[in-house]
Assembly symmetry: C2
Homo-oligomer: 291 residues x 2
């Protein structure tokens, strides 16, 4: 691979493989507040959300591209620390930074990351394969990231518990190995990552697959940390687990009773109603909405 | 190719080919002024600058990805017009828009475009192959785009001449076919596109190739329009041709006297001095500098 220093990065293609491309933009004041996130955390998160998109297709990340618009009051130290955070996660997944663009910005930081990945030809797990009767599953737990953000916004006193939740918010670890394992079974019918919260995200699978869904709120995987924080601070665990998003675990569907090589929780099932339903709850959850 | 609607775009790989990746960011108030550029022009230019990077490697563009942060005061009509401009150039080159990200911005527009291209494995023309004695050549003419920008900034009265120069500024046409033809000769030793102006751009070839360069200011290809505008408005043609940039023609090197299938002008030669020299001029030109 040829990287920074030329007009383009150059990556050899392989017969029998597909290239996966994911790109996301993060804007200061919309996706993050500079006073609340360290440069290292921002660098980590910028790469993590795109690597997670590759994981969500059952792919392996291959290379990353970073474009960043820097306000003049941002010094070299900030940039070095940002790159350090970026490199700690891209290094964790062995994905080099091969290109991008640096420019000035009149006021706000704006970051755009593109990640290229790959998977066997035709084996990417799309959002469009869910069938009525399939189980809806998630890897990991839901709500820790949202609880971390809530702790930050409420100015909660830092202790080990609060720190762990905040860490879940700032250092999501994309589930690349889980995505690869799930894709390799051949029985996962649809998959995506949890970025906006299960209610928003499952709607994408519903739309692309032309199906409905039931989510069982009494089956949601909640971490001990989340439950403890909720009882200490009087927070609603279901609201955090469903409406916060940014968990970056995997949400997928498969035939009911499937044996899978990855730890997961069944949280509902695909229906033919075309609607999103909450049979064990009196509420309709919405997930996080941008804008 | 699978595009918008999933976590990633999916593109089949081919044995014997390389993937090329280019990404650029455009920020309102830095790269463009919203009062001075129409949404269609901005859409065109956003895609053009990246397609030009693919051309500069001797590659063919394959797919594009658009991320855009939109201030709240920008309506749907603006977005439709932007996309129209974007699609008119991506359509011209047969390159589909396969993904991206739309988000809100507190104030300024920020646009990030990624273009993927391809070329035969190992055949991308890099910046690192220039050798002392090589001729330095450009396709097209230099300075029309800079003259168009100057006409806009000076509020020149619009007539056919001024309109053509402004069009050169807002509607650069990437030299994809010229890049493919030049690469196919196998004798072009380095290539890039003219984005910041020849003095800035040739420095990249000098650095990557470890060489020097002489540019002959009396050999620069200047269009009739540029010469006419310069004599009418009292502008310096050499300053526009060298210091404005954004021509998006190709700057390349090859052995002296090479027969090439593409119209071009020899503007200098590669030396072993490590310096950039201007033997026919008393001046040192710098090219456009960001920041």
């Amino acid at each position: 691979m040829t990287g920074i220093g030329d007009d383009c990065a150059v990556i050899p293609q392989k017969e029998g493989m597909d290239t996966l491309v994911s790109t996301d933009m993060l804007v200061e004041g919309v996706h993050f507040l500079s006073d609340e996130i360290t440069p290292e955390q921002l660098g980590w998160k910028s790469a993590a959300v795109n690597i997670s998109d590759i994981a969500a297709m059952g792919g392996r990340p291959v290379s990353t591209y970073l474009s960043i618009a820097l306000p003049r009051n941002i010094g070299e130290e900030w940039v070095m620390r940002f790159i350090e955070g970026y490199r700690s996660i891209s290094g964790m997944f062995g994905v080099p930074l091969l290109g991008g663009d640096t420019c000035s910005s009149p006021d706000r930081l704006c970051i755009s990351v593109t990640v290229l990945g790959e998977c066997a030809h035709g084996k990417a797990v799309l959002r469009s394969g869910a069938r009525p009767g399939d189980s809806i599953c998630v890897t990991g737990t839901l709500g820790d990231s949202a609880a971390g953000l809530k702790a930050i916004l409420e100015g909660r006193r830092r202790d080990d518990l609060v720190d762990r939740l905040i860490d879940a918010h700032y250092h999501p670890v994309p589930e690349v190995e889980a995505g690869l394992s799930l894709a390799s079974t051949g029985i996962v019918s649809s998959m995506m990552d949890v970025s906006d919260g299960v209610p928003s995200d499952i709607r994408h699978i519903m739309e692309e697959s032309g199906v409905g869904a039931e989510i069982h709120t009494d089956s949601l995987p909640l971490s001990e940390d989340l439950q403890k924080a909720c009882s200490l601070f009087g927070w609603d665990p279901l609201s955090l687990a469903l409406e916060g998003g940014e968990d970056y675990c995997l949400l997928f569907t498969c035939p009911p009773g499937s044996e899978l090589p990855v730890e997961h929780t069944v949280i509902g099932e695909i229906t033919d109603t075309g609607r999103l339903e909450w049979p064990s709850s009196g509420r309709n959850y919405q997930g996080f909405r941008h804008f």
